[in-house]
């Protein structure tokens, strides 16, 4: 099992990056620690063949989902906009994307959308791996990814009121 410990240890920086983007810096390491403990306790369930990273992300995802459920009463997580974001009004002079608010804009995504966006866009898992980690069909990955990206783009183009001061 020395190999297992080493292989998992190599993945810790990536788990931390993902957790930090998913739940914020304060809670990230707790989530990663829970993930490592669970991975260790289930190490005999890993067949030694599959992609270890996807296996670890799956564990982390399940912990995250439980966490989200536990806090389901929190208002921030109640507004899960799974519906299509309103289409952008076509315009020849669309505002440039302002990325400074991206971290905050992530909060506008539902947990489901945020996970897909981060697994694909940040962790660069392929779509099939992402579907495995999240235990959803491939088509769901694609539609969540499309919604997440479009929602972020919309938020970053129509920034909060703070932006108006700069424009006007």
């Amino acid at each position: 099992m020395a190999d297992f410990a080493q292989l998992v240890t190599e993945q810790i920086p990536r788990l931390r990056r993902y957790a930090r983007a998913l739940v914020g810096a304060q809670r990230a390491d707790d989530l990663v620690q829970d993930c490592l403990e669970r991975a260790w306790s289930r190490r005999r369930l890993w067949d030694g063949q599959g992609e270890l990273r996807a296996w670890l992300f799956t564990i982390l995802h399940n912990l995250y989902v439980n966490d989200v459920r536990r806090q389901a009463s929190s208002p921030a997580l109640e507004s899960l906009p799974e519906e299509e974001p309103p289409a952008l009004a076509p315009s020849r002079h669309e505002a440039a994307l302002d990325l400074r608010d991206l971290q905050r804009a992530l909060d506008h995504l539902s947990p489901e959308q945020r996970e897909v966006l981060l697994l694909v866009g940040l962790e660069q898992l392929d779509y099939a791996e992402t579907a495995t980690v999240l235990n959803v069909p491939l088509g769901t990955v694609m539609s969540r990814l499309a919604r997440a990206r479009e929602a972020l783009r919309r938020v970053l183009r129509e920034p909060p009121r703070a932006r108006l001061r700069r424009v006007k």
């Binding site: 931390r16 490592l36 990325l99 694909v120 660069q124 499309a146």
Partner: protein, 255 residues
């Protein structure tokens, strides 16, 4: 007509993510050619991904706290928080440095380039780096096209890592022959005019991912094999700088 299937949303995201099947590239490129607003939309998606990396990649470089170790220690739930923190800090001093995740694979002494692809990469470096007017075939101004083109020719999605944080700007890239197969070379330059090249080619049936260093005529090369792609990062830099650049490349290609 081949590829007559209309371009759909999944194709566009696969294009953004470098996961489009090579056979679909032409269709997507044609679609984007005809729809500039769609091209902009995809550029925005890419910009979002790049910003995600800028925001969160620093987590990859931080020392891992001792609390995140294997086998995990039971959390010290009955101890006061400050005591747990102090213990963690003490553990960190002992443990923190040991986590470079491929340090264990690094070969300490310089080697001769024992692999054909490294010799090819060095040869390409020596030929093209001195070029003043035509160092690259496609310049970085067309980076999207460059990457798509080279990905298509290599038959697998490749990327041009960003090395701005180390002061190196992408100049562009070119396609090269390698044993009758295509190889790609990206070239970077810093403000002092120093140049780096990243050489990428396919390599079948190879599971070796060790991170190695070779030197030839004063030019250093870090090279590694990842899956079916072989990489060599080459530059006339001191070894620590080149090592740092190679780590940056490796991290971006294996995030």
């Amino acid at each position: 007509m081949m590829n007559a299937e209309p371009v759909d949303e999944a194709d566009l995201h696969a294009y953004v993510d470098g996961r489009l099947e090579p056979a679909r590239y032409a269709a997507v490129e044609a679609y984007l050619e005809a729809n500039p607003t769609e091209r902009q939309r995809l550029a925005d998606y890419r910009a979002i991904d790049a910003e995600l990396h800028r925001l969160f990649d620093p987590a990859l470089n931080e020392p891992v706290p001792a609390s995140l170790r294997l086998p995990p220690m039971r959390r010290w739930t009955t101890a006061p928080v400050w005591l747990a923190r102090a213990a963690a800090a003490a553990g960190f001093m002992l443990f923190g440095g040991a986590l470079g995740w491929f340090a264990h694979e690094r070969v300490q002494q310089p080697l001769v380039a024992d692999r054909a692809f490294v010799r090819q990469a060095l040869a390409a470096h020596v030929v093209y780096v001195p070029e003043v007017r035509h160092p690259v075939e496609v310049d970085a101004g067309q980076q999207q096209h460059l990457v798509a083109w080279l990905s298509k020719r290599l038959g697998t999605a490749i990327r041009a890592p960003a090395l701005e944080s180390l002061g190196f700007q992408l100049l562009g890239g070119r396609l090269l022959p390698a044993d009758g197969k295509p190889a790609a070379q990206f070239m970077y330059q810093d403000a002092g005019g120093r140049r780096l090249t990243l050489y990428v080619r396919g390599l079948a049936d190879n599971r070796d991912t060790a991170f190695r260093f070779a030197e030839q005529d004063g030019i250093g090369a870090f090279y590694w094999v990842d899956g079916d792609l072989a990489y060599a990062l080459i530059g006339d830099l001191d070894r620590p700088s080149l090592d740092q650049a190679a780590h940056a490349v490796y991290r971006q290609l294996n995030p």
